[in-house]
């Protein structure tokens, strides 16, 4: 059975004159036990989608089900069986770690002991601080506690809205390791992130921009669909190199990418020598050019360009 099924979902904000379509007829479905990623920047519509699926917000059009239950008609059934970790920390700051967890267990008529095996691997990392108030925890620890609280009633579908935003690289890596562990226990997960590199951790991803889904596929397939040769170029003067490459007549697109610029050409025959010749004529030194494998961020930018 599908864990989540979304069909032509629409959400509009604002009055008549200035309306914003936060969700513009989006459709997708996820399988049970699947880790499905919604990848997109702020304003893509991720949070509206999560709030509708967790019955916190009513859609303006289309339909959606979670575990077969309708997000409008079966609100109570959905609330009983999903776990939701909102993007903004929303536990009780003046309760301790343990009190928060007990509270969430009890409102779902269960206890910490009953589902301890599910949260154990995560909870042991913060157990040392179980008497500390939630408001006094570091970002990484708050995130772990919030995940425990979203899990303590053994949800069948887990919704994580930007769990890694603003968190450093180390905590981000740890968090994804925890999610992999949960996936092994058969929980369906819908997770959103603005960090493109995290797409690789998901079974499938939807790349979202301005209320629309640009593509849905496995991360591997998204990358294969890039379909063009990607060049990585660098020189002694990176900013001037970027400007010169953008001005080059055979350039289709050029973006900074870490220590290289990523370049796609209109016509790729004999290109390497031609690019080198052009850059030499512009006075660039220490030029290096090589082919590179595109990643999700390259694909995202290409799709944004195609949809512009």
């Amino acid at each position: 059975m599908e864990a989540i099924a979304v069909h032509k979902l629409v959400k509009t904000y604002g009055a008549k004159k200035e309306t914003v379509k936060a969700l513009n007829e989006i459709s997708f479905s996820t399988q049970q036990g699947e880790m499905f990623g919604v990848i997109g920047p702020d304003g893509a519509g991720k949070t509206s989608l999560f709030r509708i699926l967790t019955t916190m917000l009513l859609p303006d059009g289309g339909t959606a089900t979670v575990d077969g239950f309708d997000v409008v008609k079966d609100m109570q059934q959905i609330r009983n069986r999903v776990g939701y970790m909102p993007g903004k920390f929303s536990l009780y700051q003046d309760l301790t770690v343990e009190e928060n967890l007990e509270f969430f267990a009890s409102i779902f008529n269960t206890s910490i002991a009953e589902n301890y095996d599910l949260v154990k691997d995560i909870y042991v990392q913060i157990e040392l601080f179980k008497n500390r108030r939630a408001g006094k925890l570091s970002g990484g620890m708050k995130q772990k506690l919030a995940l425990c609280c979203a899990l303590i009633h053994k949800p069948s579908v887990l919704f994580l809205d930007e769990p890694t935003t603003g968190v450093d690289v180390v905590s981000r890596k740890e968090f994804w390791e925890m999610l992999k562990g949960l996936k092994k226990q058969g929980i369906s997960i819908l997770v959103s992130t603005p960090y493109m590199d995290e797409a690789a951790m998901c079974d499938r991803v939807a790349l979202m921009q301005s209320g629309r889904i640009m593509t849905i596929d496995t991360p591997q397939h998204v990358i294969e669909q890039f379909g063009k040769r990607l060049w990585a170029v660098r020189s002694g003067e990176m900013y001037r190199l970027l400007l010169d490459l953008k001005a080059y007549e055979n350039t289709l697109s050029c973006h900074s990418f870490g220590e290289y610029h990523h370049l796609v050409l209109r016509n790729d025959t004999g290109s390497e020598a031609a690019v080198l010749h052009y850059l030499a004529s512009k006075g660039h030194r220490q030029v290096e050019i090589k082919t590179a494998s595109p990643n999700i961020e390259d694909c995202f930018m290409q799709l944004m360009n195609d949809n512009a």
């Binding site: 702020d42 935003t165 968190v167 603005p194 973006h255 870490g258 220590e259 961020e297 944004m304």
Partner: protein, 247 residues
Amino acid sequence: MKEIVIKADKLTKKFGDFIATNQISFEVTQGEIFGFLGANGAGKTTAMRMLCGLSMPSSGSATIAGFDVYKQTEHIKQNIGYMSQKFSLYEDLTVKENIRFYAGIYGLSKPVIREKMNALLDKLQLRAEENSLVKSLPLGWKQKLAFSVAILHEPKIVFLDEPTGGVDPVTRREFWNLIYEAAEKGITVFVTTHYMDEAEYCNRISIMVDGKIEALDTPHNLKTNFNAASMDDVFLQLARGAKRTAD
């Protein structure tokens, strides 16, 4: 030799027994893009607040654009620009009002404000939106406007605290083009980020762990010295050793 515009020597900040920033020393030269990295809770914000003249150090010394962080904090504030994702523009003022407000705070004269406002609105292609409230702008536009406003008074140094969080990859790169442009004009850029590809765009970066600067070099040299394939690797090798967990 280029002018040194930021100089910190054993700069330290204690909160009770807790040493948030522990004897950090470094220099940044004019026009340099300096990346200031570290895990959450490593002490970046505390260090940055001292460098901006907002927090008195416990010990050590530092000068910003030649001004002392203990005694000349008002001079520092006049010579720097500051932008963060959390605080930048007034949402309920229009684009023009924000520009005029900040330009006024930094003491620019009316004719200069008018001239700069026109140049800026054209450059950012914000003419059509000049009378819109800032809250109605897309995040990426806001960030570009916030950066431009932060350097409107042509400061020696601009401090950017996670300026690009949450924006799409194209806008993020356009933002970095503005940074490059400012650096070309001689403005020193001091920037924190969680995006490791952005660390690569810096001339040099420092990585803080538990209040100390554990590494400081060009991205290329750091990768070589740590025998790492990417800046991600370098960061992980250093930050995994962190003892501290509190923010």
